[in-house]
Point group: C2
Chain length 516, copies 2
């Protein structure tokens, strides 16, 4: 297949008005429709096509996403992107004597939304981390503070007590009463006054996002998200058939002028936001801007999902949540989780919403998994009841604040020449920016060689480009590893910087995905 | 509102060709469209309207379901069914000076699929069970066999060992390697040869159904299900926008003539089936008919989801699963769970599918909850590794077989005059049939008064009517309670039978839902 020939309409008219990715989409769509590209034809890997056309790889990735969303191509993990069977046409599978088939033709059966998710996930870079590699890439907290001892004592007590049968049975879809009540008491301390009919225990906050999406989204509905935002939220909205419309962000959080502009033009079902210690940018929205956001959301009828995933990891004076500021107005669905400040393996979080909305969320929860794991709920309820969570928070806040200091210092010492960043007020991520023209993806192969990895920032964007950002997790490694890891990053930056004077597009290894 | 007047076109033409529920739908739709029914107008409860029109309540329920699916009405749990805001029209919410709103108008924001689920769930009868009531209603196993002692020893070992940090961290989306490997070994004994890339650990089999639906279903796609079938599967398919098309069943399982007829007319994305010890009918499909079903499914390109939820509770010689008989043909997605034979609170099950299908399922799993609770997975892996699950199965199979005997005897002794049933070969449910004209819903209020409850059968049907069936769980209560419960059921039947000579439609209590 001569791809350059097929894509000539693009390369000949680089100056045309329509964005590059749409021009690529259009060329490939035409070729599929008029038969120049056959069913099951493999498209070139995005980095190859990008090299061929001398454009950014993320532009090609975006074009492929669009083609997948339109049902024209599909991806196999690890194999590539292929032209889809047309659902309107009979498949090419040989028919049996009776006129049927002798095997299911699965590609005809996959949903469009799952194809879109597949296409988006292809964007994730992934790394074969060698032994000894220091990772700043993940979204996980530190193993060393996991509450093994406390949980052991709680589980022993639970299983030996008269509560044992309860541990093994179904709980209500809305969550175990003991945990609901403990979480409500904890939220009250944070300024969120909610009643028992306003809370839902969920199987981790990923499920919370999914439940909200499923409760609100019809196919092709619009969800507004900060740009950049949490990668798996983008995937979950796509899995629910939503179109994500990006709202740009600044170092002080979401841009309200952009939000107002978009919200007044587009009928949106939801604005998904992380006002405190944002993923990936680490930014925090001021109280005044929180109030303004709420006002705009009400005026333009855009419900808010406030994801307070690291609200408990605050290293300065905490700000009131959107939910707190919203009072009883019911604009906000609020989400919290134990996954970052405590440990992710329990898969327990919570949603808080006005009673009418909550009734619908609880119903949808049943269709997803009936109810959340009972043992985890009872362990966490008891952990809260004993006051151990508050103790734990003090411990990790102190430890993580120190790690933040160490990483900031190390970045200044080893990478000042190339990286700029703002110190976050809480959470787990530093968002660092390379000089113009540098690519965090290209840097990654140099970093791997030096034994350090991070998340390239472009995967978190809805919009394309933005290759110069990187996300660094500063809570997972101890001070020594942070310092050594950033030192390695500095070496990688030096090597990358030197190489830029020689080659344009170094390759990097793609393998099993390890970024969240 | 004069409902009789509004619905005149129905009552005047009872002999018209179109089904009654569609005629009701049509009348109400017209009244909404021409403004006779205003936004937020409450529709009469289905049992009232049924009484008014002198038709079966399930027909009205079906009409309301259809209206909800069309986005014309919505339901509030416990409050009733209301005419929806029209999304096309501006809402009635007062605007602010700036032309916006000062509160979110939530009913405008809910998804159609969640409205449909809401409407379906309204069908569930529910019961205020007094203390001392004997319940045959639930889908749960017996508390007395829950493995508290074994789990206690396993958890203690896990948390004290070097595995402790692992217990608290994320596992891979596909499940913990230890559990995947133990489940694969266990499946091998059952004649299912699958590789590690063909298995996915899910957060209970409800999630399994949801993942399969999300991976395959586009809005308005068709799913075939046995009629009757598992209630929450109907809800989950609806939550994914599917239209369920019923395939009728006989005492020996799904009717293959009907399946062939439907599958050749309709392009279906899935056939959801429980070939062994079906919920709710308890029926089992013979080996010959399993093979025929597989052949028809391949010929007509209908993937199968085989839900083997109680396959381990077999009281005779077990039959090979569809997955076993299908070999390497890839027609079947297979599902198993620990929830019935062991305990439901862990929320752990598994899916097995061909590698291509599995890759997509694993991806979709991430968008739903990232991964399943780690502690539960490690407990169950160790429980299997120690051979304790096999021991447990022998224990419960013997116990439950005896309970089945007791219930069959008790039914013959106390209810022979009214109830007919087939003895199931395994599982947990007896499906009993009342005489023509009797209604299991009407009987329920008499049963409650006597201190016994069960699941009325009509909720399990996609098609309307079928009011004469009831589902009895025979594994949850001990022999004494079973005998006493069925004796009470006999008394209720006598009272109901007497009352039928006097009144037509006794009311029954609707409250918190307790049936699964």
């Amino acid at each position: 297949m001569d791809w350059l020939e097929l894509l000539k309409p693009i390369t000949k008219h680089k100056d045309r008005r329509s964005p590059m990715y749409l021009r690529i989409t259009q060329c490939i769509r035409s070729a599929i429709e008029d038969g120049r590209l056959a069913e099951e034809q493999r498209l070139p890997p995005d980095r190859e096509l990008a090299k061929l056309l001398d454009i950014d790889r993320s532009t090609v990735a975006r074009a492929y996403d669009q083609l997948a969303a339109d049902g024209l191509v599909y991806s196999h993990v690890g194999r590539g992107t292929f032209v889809h069977h047309s659902p309107a046409k009979p498949t090419s599978q040989p028919r049996t004597a009776r006129g049927g088939y002798d095997r299911i033709v699965w590609p005809d059966k996959f949903s469009r939304s799952s194809a879109t998710v597949d296409a988006i996930v292809q964007r994730q870079p992934a790394v074969n981390a060698q032994a000894g590699t220091i990772s700043f890439a993940a979204g996980s907290p530190t193993e060393e503070f996991f509450p093994a001892k406390d949980f052991e004592s709680i589980v022993q007590e639970l299983l030996a007590s008269s509560k044992a049968p309860e541990v093994f049975g179904y709980t209500q879809p809305e969550g175990h009463p003991a945990l609901r009540s403990e979480v409500l008491a904890y939220l009250k301390q944070q300024g969120i006054a909610a009643s028992d009919e306003e809370i839902l225990i969920v199987s981790g906050s990923q499920q919370g996002i999914d439940l909200v999406a499923r409760t609100l989204i019809n196919p092709d509905d619009t969800v507004l998200t900060e740009d950049p935002t949490y990668f798996w939220a983008i995937c979950t909205f796509a899995a629910n058939g939503a179109r994500c419309v990006p709202v740009s962000t600044a170092p002080d959080g979401v841009r309200l002028d952009v939000f107002e502009n978009v919200a007044s033009r587009v009928e949106a079902k939801l604005f998904y936001t992380m006002p405190s210690f944002h993923n990936p940018t680490g930014s925090t929205l001021s109280v005044e801007r929180r109030q303004k956001l709420l006002q705009l959301a009400r005026e333009h009828q855009v419900p808010i999902l406030e994801d307070n995933f690291v609200g408990d990891l605050c290293y300065t004076t905490p700000l009131p949540s959107l939910k707190t500021l919203d009072g009883q107005a019911g604009t906000v669905i609020y989400q919290g989780t134990f996954s970052k400040a405590l440990c992710p393996g329990m898969r327990v979080g919570w949603l808080v919403a006005a009673p009418d909305v909550m009734a619908r969320l609880r119903l949808v929860k049943r269709t997803c998994d009936l109810s959340t794991n009972t043992l985890s709920q009872l362990i966490l309820a008891e952990y809260l009841r004993r006051g151990l969570y508050q103790e734990h928070l003090q411990l990790v806040q102190n430890a993580y604040r120190k790690r933040l200091d160490v990483m900031c210092l190390a970045l200044q010492e080893h990478t000042r020449q190339w990286l700029s960043f703002d110190r976050p007020q809480g959470g787990m991520f530093i968002w660092a920016k390379l000089p113009p023209g540098y690519s965090a993806r290209e840097l990654l192969s140099f970093a791997q060689r030096e034994g350090v990895i991070y998340s390239p920032g472009d995967v978190f964007f809805i919009s394309s480009g933005n290759s110069e950002y990187m996300r660094l997790n500063f809570i997972q490694q101890n001070a020594e590893q942070i310092d050594e890891g950033i030192r390695r990053l500095g070496k990688a930056l030096q090597a990358y910087s030197n190489s830029r004077k020689r080659v344009a597009h170094p390759a990097y290894v793609v393998a099993e995905s390890t970024f969240i």
